[in-house]
Symmetry: C2
Subunit: 150 residues, 2 copies
Amino acid sequence: MAHGTTLHPTLSIGQVAERTGVATSALRYWEELGLITSDRTTGNQRRYDRATIRRVSFIRAAQRVGLSLDEIATALARLPQSRTPTAGDWARLSRSWRRRLDEQIHSIERLRDQLDSCIGCGCLSLRTCALSNPDDTLAARGPGPVLLEP
Amino acid sequence: MAHGTTLHPTLSIGQVAERTGVATSALRYWEELGLITSDRTTGNQRRYDRATIRRVSFIRAAQRVGLSLDEIATALARLPQSRTPTAGDWARLSRSWRRRLDEQIHSIERLRDQLDSCIGCGCLSLRTCALSNPDDTLAARGPGPVLLEP
DNA sequence: GTCAGGCTTCAGGTGGAGTTCAAGTTGTGA
DNA sequence: TCACAACTTGAACTCCACCTGAAGCCTGAC
């Protein structure tokens, strides 16, 4: 419609790899799993939308947070692959991820604070820190995850 | 020396599994890797120190934060396996983990904020959020990781 | 037109983190 | 004392997330 640069300036897989830092093999793999999509040239080469770069970066970020490709795929599948954005869907997805992210943050903070407190008391509690948590107190609480678990 | 309960009330692998939520197969695997240790009964069955429960929980927590068993093993190897605590060693280890944990937290917060901002602007930026980040702005910055990367 | 270099598919390999299996041994409550 | 659950080992197997290599096709600069 408008003049100037094309609306879908297609990128080769190599260009996407270079710009995102994700290997081409990984991009093909992700495409196979349905996390990203591509058009093909008449010669069967992949051409990606510029928006794919954001998507790819997003996937990487989500991965680093501990989400599996499956989970990410499920989440992304609800997003505007084709047409209607459905801001409601987006908000719902976003909320559920947010919960997960918050949990993750708390989990890490807990671990960090544990470390801090151990430095603080100088007792190297990993073995037996009677001050912060005597063994017997733990034992009395019966089976199940202990301490660092949520 | 003292009377009363033994100082090292040994737990079977099944008990440790039950109390930590970690499968026995995983516990054996971790032991093989040197992350935990055990005594043996005359009949060759493993017996764990109660402190192992804390150690196991710690390992799980560290794993959830994205550390590999190798990294965890390296870290734990510096801890009082046998004798002198060396509070200095502990502090050093702890500091390096702390840095890592802080980075992790920031990484997650970044992802979370991205989600929030996308809800905020209602533009579903994963495709093309012109408001928060027009494609051209990104394209002009040349190759390399974009946006969500640190 | 030609040719390097980027792209294609497909098969097979890798590494991390376990799980499962089989066959045999130990521990314990009745 | 005996049954039976829990334990032992080693090897093989699984799953995930890719990576590597081979053999051949596309594309763009000269």
